[in-house]
Every structure is written in C-alpha cells, then in structure tokens.
Subunit: 362 residues, 2 copies
C-alpha cells in the first residue's frame, strides 16, 4: 500500500515540478487520503523540496503511509500554515497550493508565515489524477456496491407501508454497517409519494402509503470508497398507468446513458444520450443539471456528466448514471447505478450495483 | 420567525455599513441559515444595496424566510459568483465577503465577474453575532438535549457486553430520531476498553467486554440546533481502583469547569479551572487543546474554551464542558455536558444534559 501512495506522490511531483514549483501543499481531505492514506482529521500533506511531511493536529494511527514523516502540531494551529513554514525551512522557492480548497484567510496566513515563498496554484491536479482508478480502488467500490445491494434487498423483503422515510433511511444505514460498510457513503435518501424521484431528497416523517412511488438512494463507504445505487418502486399490487409509463421512460433514459459509456465517449454525449430520451417525451425542462458523476474517495467527484462538461471518459473511470423525473405534487422516478467504464473488448461497462431495475410492486 | 431573521440581518447590516461596505455576501452555510432560515444546500445570501436576495441552485421550500427574494440559478453555476453579479447590478460600490469561508478560487471568480466592486472582508461578524443565543434558540438546544438524554438512558437499560462500538453508535442514532431529532448532531462516538476517553473516537468493530470503560458521546440536532453529551461507564459489577480514581479526577475537573461558567468569566479561565485539576494530578501533557466550546447551529462554534482563547462569556451562551483523560493502551474517561451561561441571580449555569454523572457499573 505505501508503495502505491509513493507512486501517486511521484506522479504529482513530476507535474508540479514541470510547472516550475519545488513544493506542493495538499489540503483537500480526499486528496490527502489519496496521497497519504487515511490520515487524522484536518491533516495536510507537504510534498517538500527535501522530504514529504504529513502535518496533523493528532498523531496518525497506523493506517496512513508510514514512509511519510508525521509532524504533529504541539498545540492549536492550522496544519496548512505549519506546512508552509516547513516548506520555507526546506528552502523551497515556490509552493503550489490548492486554491480551490484553501480559503482566502488561510491563504493570506500562509503568505505571511512564509514570505520568502512564491505561492502558486496546484489547481485540480490531484482530482485529475484521481479520475482513473486502479483495480484495488475498483475492488473497494465493487465491495461497497455489493453491500448496498444487500442492504436494499433486505429492505425490500420487509413491510414498508406505514413506515416513515426517516426510519427506512436509518434502517438502510444500519444494514449497510451490518454488512461491513465503514458507514453510509452519503445521507441515505428515502422519498415516498409526492417526494419520490427528487434528487437528494432529505427523509421526512411522511409514511409510505398504498399507491406511492418509493424512491431510495443509498451507498456504502468501504475503505474510504463511496458508491451509489438508486431505485424506484411502487407500493401496492398494481401500479397505475402513469406510473408504468413514467418508469419505462426513465428506465429507457438510464439504459441509454449506460450504453453510451465507453472509453473515448465525451462526458456531454453520455449526458445527452440519457437526457434526450426524457426531453423528447416532454420532460426536458426542470431536469437536474447532470445525469451522472464520478465516484471514489468522494461520492461526487470528477467527471460530471452534464451538457456543458468538457472531456472524454477513460477506461477504469467509475461513474453513476442517474436520470430521473419528478412531477411536482405527484412524485416521480429515479434510477441510479454505479458502473466502471471498460472497453468493448472487456465486455463494455461493468455494472457494480446489480439490484434489479424491473418495476417492482411491493 | 421571519421577523427574527430580518432583525438579525439589520444588525449585521449596521455593522458592515459602519465599516464602509454597502453590501455583504454571506456564504458559510450555518451563517446563511442564521440569517435566512433553512435554505437549500449551497445557498448564499446577498445583503444588497437595494434588496436582500437568497441565491440558490434549487428553489427554497417554505421553511426559509419568505421576506427574502429567492434567486434560483437557471443552470449550473456558483451562487456566490451570481450574488456578486447581482450586487454589482444593484450599483453597490463595495461588497464584504467571508474570507474565512470563500476559497481563493471563488474569490478570484467573484472579483472577475464584478470588477467594479471593491471586495472587502466581512470577517467573523456573523459568527460573533451567533454566540449569544435568544430564548428560542436555547429552547431548541434544550429539546435536543432532552432527546439525547432519552436515547442514552434507553441504551443503558439494554445489554451491552458483546456488542460492537459501531452497532451501539447506530442504535443511539436511531433512538435520537425515534425521539424526534432531525438526526444526530455529529457522528456518534462509542469507545470501549482501550479506546475509551478518546475525543471524537470513531466507532470500530471492537466489542464491549467485562471490565471495560465505555465512553459515549452523542447529540441531537433539533430544528438545526446541535447539543452534545458525553458519559463514561464501567462494564461489569465492580470497577477497578484505577478506574474509580480516574473517574473521580475527571469528574472533579468537569465540575470545576462547570462551576466557573458565569457571565464575565474569561474563556481561558474556564479552561484553566478544569485543566488544572488534571494537571495537578500529573495528566497535564497530552490533554486535548480545549476543554469546551460553543454549540448552536454548528456543533463546534465560538467560543473556544482553551488556554490561549481571548474573550469573556456572556449570559445566554451555550457551551460544552468536556475534559477527559486517555491513557494509551488502557482507556480513559470523558465527561461532557452542554450548559447555558446564566447569571448567579438566575441560578447560575443551566445544565441541559441531565443524565447522571455518577460512575455507573453496567
């Protein structure tokens, strides 16, 4: 494992060196984890001129990269500011920082504690490196997806009518942990009746009723990696015609998105494949700004599958495909999978979340 | 309720006007909630020259202040940048922003979209205003504390030996919601045996054993307000002598901290009252950097009760008092209450978390 972190840091170092910087300060938590392993809350990583240092408020606990020198702050203080001070002590002449993560106030403090350093922008270099996953990372996502499938499968076997969104969400989270998750990958969403189909709906005290659409979105965090699955069901014996039609439409959109996943496909084309199915049925306005996104150490990371996104998919990029339609006052449908982009020769996109997408009446 | 938000905004406006700014952009989520009520995720608030606007990616849903004009972004985009554009459209000449919250990259975008505005720093003006609570806010904290007491009380009646930290934590969180919490105020901490007494310990798969210390820290979020309670127990019929001694010591430190809470008391003196009890028993090194902190819309807000903190308590400031000692390899004790500072004439500090602090053997 340590070797892997060192390789990632070397790749990053080549990049910021080529841009003329001798040192870099990584402060965004998921980026620190990517390059150093699980580190204490608030830690930052200095890729220094003479050595790499993990600067933290509390001593690290074993699981992070042991080849890094830990520097534990003696008292209260900002690890990023302490790291800049160390960089200056190493006679670095320039330090690249994550301007999309550091606040204006911290940035100013860094400049004032290390006045001899030229402060540059590291930009999204680590986020870019994180997009394509190695097989170890994908295997964590695969296990997380299995756990989410199990938790969801068990819920479907229980009685749902009369239970609140809030309780169903908690029950799902408990089952995630039962099956070995570190915890939920994000706040579990359970949406009933008129709430169904809303992206990131926060569970309320509304109870499941006969005839409802029920949409559920959950994911497991496993060794830090986060996946996502979303399904929509109907409560009762026979779905209404409008429910079947809407479900079939969203299903067709989601399939179109999934089928367009391939190395070399433009992000916006994947989005368009799903979006145009909904659009041509008259649901074009009011759609969420994206139909999918990358997953990994964060639940929502690059790439964004959206109309204005620039870039193309590579192999080994895990993404969600999650179109949905919500009709105010009536409810709606969302269907959400996590898949890994794979070349045609390897069988095409690998579906991680395998719970059925037939319309189940529960 | 709306009136209250308007009064808070007026107070803030007087302050930034006095500092020479015609408009302010509030972006830190808890600050936005404080001034506008519960707003969609990622919303920002513009206190403009001609009107106040809530800029959001999704339409607000009823519960936030209806006297504010909502401005929903038509597509993807950064609400803070859109708000700066609006401020310029209102012919504001200067805009105070939260430099301790905005990233360097967002700040630069704001400057580029609104080049005619002078961009100044609002500093922690909203955080300062949030320190002293009104009785409505305190009543939310009081209800949250009752909920946490109930959840903890029920756990104590159940069988603990053999259950994992992770499961106990989930069970507590389910009970918080059962009793009416919006959710947990922060990640519930359950620490057994050698983990006991560690601040913010993340639950593991370790199971409760006979003879363990068990420390638990939890809180309820109620209408957005977050409280905290922490207790330490012994598992089994008879605590060991070292356990009783350590418990008594931490209890004495915590009591000293509680008893020093009064309007006018310096933050550092409250910290010292608790800290010196532990210090004089030889546990001075390795103590956490603070012995308490403010609570409210965030679980950890101003003031900080720490050796180098500057400032004095006011009446109606809710704080935690939470000293602890952790002995590596053996475990330890933490005791944590949420209290509201009240003058002597009103009976002194009001204890919100009333679960017993006797050493219970479970």
């Amino acid at each position: 494992m340590s070797e892997m972190y060192a390789i990632r840091r070397t790749r990053l170092r080549e990049q910021f060196n080529a841009a003329g910087n001798t040192a870099a300060l990584v402060s965004r938590p998921a980026n620190v984890s990517y390059l150093a392993g699980p580190a204490p809350h608030g830690s930052v990583l200095l890729l220094g001129r003479t050595e790499d240092v993990l600067v933290c408020a509390d001593p690290p606990e074993g699981r992070c990269d042991e080849t890094l020198r830990p520097h534990v702050l003696p008292g209260p203080g900002d690890p990023a500011v302490a790291a800049a001070d160390l960089a200056q002590g190493q006679y670095a002449d320039s330090l690249a920082v994550e301007e999309h993560h550091l606040t204006v106030a911290r940035h100013r403090e860094i400049r004032s504690v290390a006045p001899r350093l030229r402060i540059a922008d590291l930009g999204g270099a680590v986020e870019q490196q994180r997009i394509v996953k190695d097989e170890e990372e994908i295997s964590c996502l695969r296990i997380g997806a299995e756990i989410a499938d199990q938790a969801l499968g068990e819920l479907l076997e229980s009685i749902l009518v009369g239970r609140t969104e809030r309780h169903l969400a908690l029950e799902l989270e408990r089952r995630l942990v039962d099956h070995g998750a570190d915890g939920p990958a994000f706040a579990t969403s359970v949406a009933t009746g008129p709430h169904a189909g809303r992206r990131a709906h926060r569970p309320t005290d509304r109870r499941v009723e006969e005839g409802d659409f029920l949409s559920v979105c959950l994911g497991a965090a496993y060794r830090g990696y986060r996946c996502e699955i979303g399904r929509t069901f109907v409560i009762g014996t026979s779905p209404a015609d409008w429910q079947i039609e809407l479900y079939d439409l969203v299903f067709a959109a989601q399939r179109a998105g999934r089928e367009s996943l391939a190395p070399g496909a433009a992000y916006r084309d994947v989005d368009r494949a799903a979006r145009q199915v909904l659009d041509s049925a008259g649901y074009g306005t009011g759609l969420p700004p994206l139909t999918g996104h990358g997953v990994g150490l964060e639940i929502d990371e690059d790439p964004q599958l959206a109309p204005s996104a620039m870039g193309k998919l590579d192999a080994c990029v895990p993404v969600t495909v999650e179109p949905g339609v919500h009709l105010p006052g009536r409810g709606g449908v969302r269907i959400d999978d996590t898949l890994v982009v794979r070349p045609e020769a390897d069988g095409g996109p690998e579906l991680l979340t395998i719970t059925t997408k037939e319309l189940l009446a529960l």
